[in-house]
Amino acid sequence: MMQLLQYLGRTTRASFTKLGRGTFFLLHTLAGLGSILPRPRLILNQMYSVGVLSFLIITISGLFVGMVLGLQGYYILSDFGAEETLGVMVAASLVRELGPVVTALLFAGRAGSALTAEIGLMKATEQLSGMEMMAVDPIKRIISPRFLAGFLSMPLLAALFSMIGILGGLMVGVGLLGVDEGAYWSQMQASMDFHDDIVNGVIKSIVFGFVATWIALFEGYDTIPTSEGVSRATTRTVVNSAFSILGLDFILTALMFGDN
């Protein structure tokens, strides 16, 4: 019993100090953005590894998720004779929930883990230390551009995911199952609201991008500089990002769609 309490206390203390370090790290990263903005080349290079390399997994997943939604939605809705509202169902689930959430989870798995491993290995091979000794702040030079790239890429990826998904739903619903194309679009347009649905969905994806990138970079920077440490940090990135994204999704959904 005492051991359990001790363990609990230790864990709590450890997680609080980690949270503190993470916050300082974030502030430092944000402070570094100022010196990075005049050097768009650094950001462009990171946009490539964070955004472009996630492009394929996001679009393909988006297509399949949309197709499945089209198929499932059709069978459920046709029981009520409401196939015409398929477009609404596909668009609403993608734009409000699946787009931001699934994209963020895939993003954490694809780009986040890569970022953690990259930074962790740079730490393990003394590259960060070396940079410090060259009077170059590694947080400004290495972390900040990656942070900005992740932060900018996520909403774009989420929008792409939703778009491809809606088109996938169209392919299945209209192409295979014979829902009227006009109804698919017009019902969707009639019930999707620009502010309530689209803007809120984009806000979600921005928040998720912020958090997922932050976690990935911090875990990398906070790695114990050994190969085991890096592998553990990579795992933690995926797990912690997934928890944070899903938890935040609940909170954001309650705040955004609560009063409807």
Partner: protein, 285 residues
């Protein structure tokens, strides 16, 4: 220890420095002087915190007591921007080279120039090629760090360390794990760079012969204390048993072959009882 003799002409002085990690005392009240334009070596067995000493001098770690002065400035009292300005004049060569793996050799050497100066690209090119020529690797400029051998990576890192024409360079184990040829090349490089560029060099190493061949002054560290110092000749003739053991590489002596432990026989007899307990604890986990 007599520091006052050389302190007039020293670039780096370490005063009464203590540093501990956890409960382990890594340095216990040590003082060292590093003279301008000379090669000073810090020697000692692995695990004595020689790299830690370099990080303390570079301001990456903070001592629990004592001070480090570089070119008249107390490293640990400086503000961040001042420390960074000081570091621009300090080069450091890491054991692994610490080259940035996502850039080729050329960009690695150009990195400090691009970060700290606003020189035009043509001037940077000239400087980079000069530095690469100095380490004899101008032909390797388009290679990536993972294509380089360990010795080459270290030489590239050396070219990068001298890119900003620093006043001093710290070498962390420059000879470890090198074949005799690249070892010879490095020894030659360090010596010639020191002479031609008027650098102050600090070498941390446990390679006795190579270090003794080029160092002007040697400190021998063990268990957080300085146990010997002097010119290579003085060190080799030292009366201290410990220094003799280190220099000749005897397996046993004042530094025991065995890590401190309880009595061997007792330990073996205990093991039966204890192994039962250990496995039980793992079972709980």
């Amino acid at each position: 220890m007599d520091n006052s003799v050389s302190s007039q002409n020293s670039l780096v002085s370490v005063h009464n420095l203590s540093f501990s990690r956890g409960n382990k005392k890594i340095f216990d009240d040590i003082s060292l002087e590093f003279e301008r334009g000379k090669i000073t070596a810090i020697m000692g067995p692995s695990g004595t915190g020689k790299t830690t000493l370099l990080k303390l001098i570079g301001g990456q770690l903070f001592p629990s007591q004592g001070s480090v002065t570089v070119d008249g400035q107390n490293v640990h009292r400086l503000r961040r921007s001042e420390l960074y300005n000081l570091r621009k004049r300090m080069g450091m060569l890491f054991q692994s080279g610490a080259l940035l793996t996502d850039m080729n050799v050329y960009d690695n050497v150009a990195f400090p120039l691009r970060e700290h100066t606003h020189l035009p690209e043509s001037m940077i090119r000239t400087l980079v090629l000069m530095k690469l020529q100095a380490v004899g690797l101008r032909g390797a400029r388009n290679m990536m760090p993972n294509e380089l051998s360990g010795g080459m990576a270290r030489r590239i890192a050396l070219a990068r360390a001298i890119a900003l024409d620093p006043m001093m360079i710290m070498y962390d184990e420059p000879f470890t794990g090198q074949d005799p040829i690249s070892m010879g090349a490095l020894v030659h490089l360090i010596k010639s760079l020191n002479n031609t560029l008027g650098l102050t060099s600090i070498i941390v190493s446990h390679d006795v012969h190579e270090t003794a061949a080029i160092a002007d002054y040697i400190y021998v560290l063990s268990e957080g204390k300085i146990i010997g110092e002097g010119t290579p000749k003085e060190i080799q003739q030292s009366k201290s048993e410990w220094v003799q053991q280190f220099m000749t590489g005897a397996a046993d002596g004042p530094v025991h072959f065995h890590y401190p432990a309880t009595d061997y026989v007792d330990d073996l007899l205990l093991s039966k009882k204890r192994s039962g307990r250990v496995s039980k604890r793992y079972g709980q986990l």
